[in-house]
């Protein structure tokens, strides 16, 4: 019937890829190559699927590689930290956070709400209320040293 594990198993691969730009050797090439997938194929499909997205936007991708080396992938919304840095107008998050360290940026609740609305569209968020997602985004902001104001 089925051979032993490697032939039948499907492996998942999680990467963050800039939209419209793919095939650099370091992130994608070796990761896909190890599983026997031609990175050029993935990159063409990925760039095609993300052609409506601003170039360079980091997009998490979940690639499912089946035993026969065919693959499918799902693209998700950009990381929350990406949104928060842009909304606060900063390049990097804080190195240190806490009561002895000043905030590095500011974001208001309406921006949080809009970010949460985008996140809600993701597959994994179906069971969460918008309020819950907002709370999560605020948590991310606090851990980056971004102050959340009304």
């Amino acid at each position: 019937m089925s051979k032993k594990a490697p032939a039948a198993a499907a492996s998942l691969l999680r990467l963050v890829v800039p939209a419209g730009k793919a095939t650099p050797s370091p992130p994608i090439g070796p990761a896909l190559g190890q599983r026997g997938v031609k990175s050029m194929d993935f990159c063409k499909q990925f760039n095609d699927r993300t052609k409506n997205v601003d170039v360079g936007t980091p997009l998490p991708v979940i690639i499912t590689v089946k035993g026969d080396r065919t693959f499918t992938f799902v693209t998700k919304s950009p990381p929350t930290s990406f949104f928060l840095k842009r909304a606060a107008g900063i390049e990097k998050g804080a190195t240190n956070i806490g009561k002895d360290h000043p905030f590095v940026g500011k974001v208001n609740l309406k921006q949080i709400y809009e970010i949460a609305k985008i996140k809600q569209a993701d597959d994994g968020m179906g069971h969460l209320s918008l309020k819950g997602i907002c709370a999560g985004v605020i948590g991310s902001a606090k851990s980056m040293g971004i102050e959340v104001v009304a």
């Binding site: 309406k110 809009e114 907002c134």
Partner: protein, 120 residues
């Protein structure tokens, strides 16, 4: 036979008290007495982004634009409380709220771990 019955009865007592606590929580929520009796407090929080402000950095599609802020009333009420530490602390202080028990449990675990660490 009798001994095992006694032990199950005892453990039954323990879980019954836990169930009791859970029952109180459920019945308080389903009655919703608090919300009906107290008049809705007028929202004092005013957003720093008045209606019409462009919320920068949100849009990431080529053909899209950054969303524009709506009037404060257009957003759900919970949004203005979500970042309020007073609301959060009130929930933690309320013994009928799940948050209270989660926090109590968390502190108990911390204390327990502290004691365990001390021994080693």
């Amino acid at each position: 036979m009798l001994k095992s019955f006694a032990s199950t009865a005892f453990s039954g007592l323990r879980t019954a008290s836990q169930q009791q606590v859970r029952c109180i929580q459920v019945s308080a929520r389903s009655f919703n007495v608090k919300d009906e009796s107290a008049p809705k407090a007028k929202r004092t929080v005013v957003s720093s982004a008045p209606e019409g402000t462009v919320l920068k950095g949100i849009n990431y599609m080529k053909d899209g634009k950054d969303p524009v802020a709506l009037a404060d009333d257009a957003y759900p009420d919970w949004l203005w409380e979500i970042n309020d530490p007073e609301v959060r602390n009130a929930r933690i202080a309320d013994p009928l709220d799940k948050k209270h028990h989660k926090e109590a449990r968390r502190q108990a675990i911390k204390a327990d771990n502290f004691i365990r660490d001390k021994k080693t």
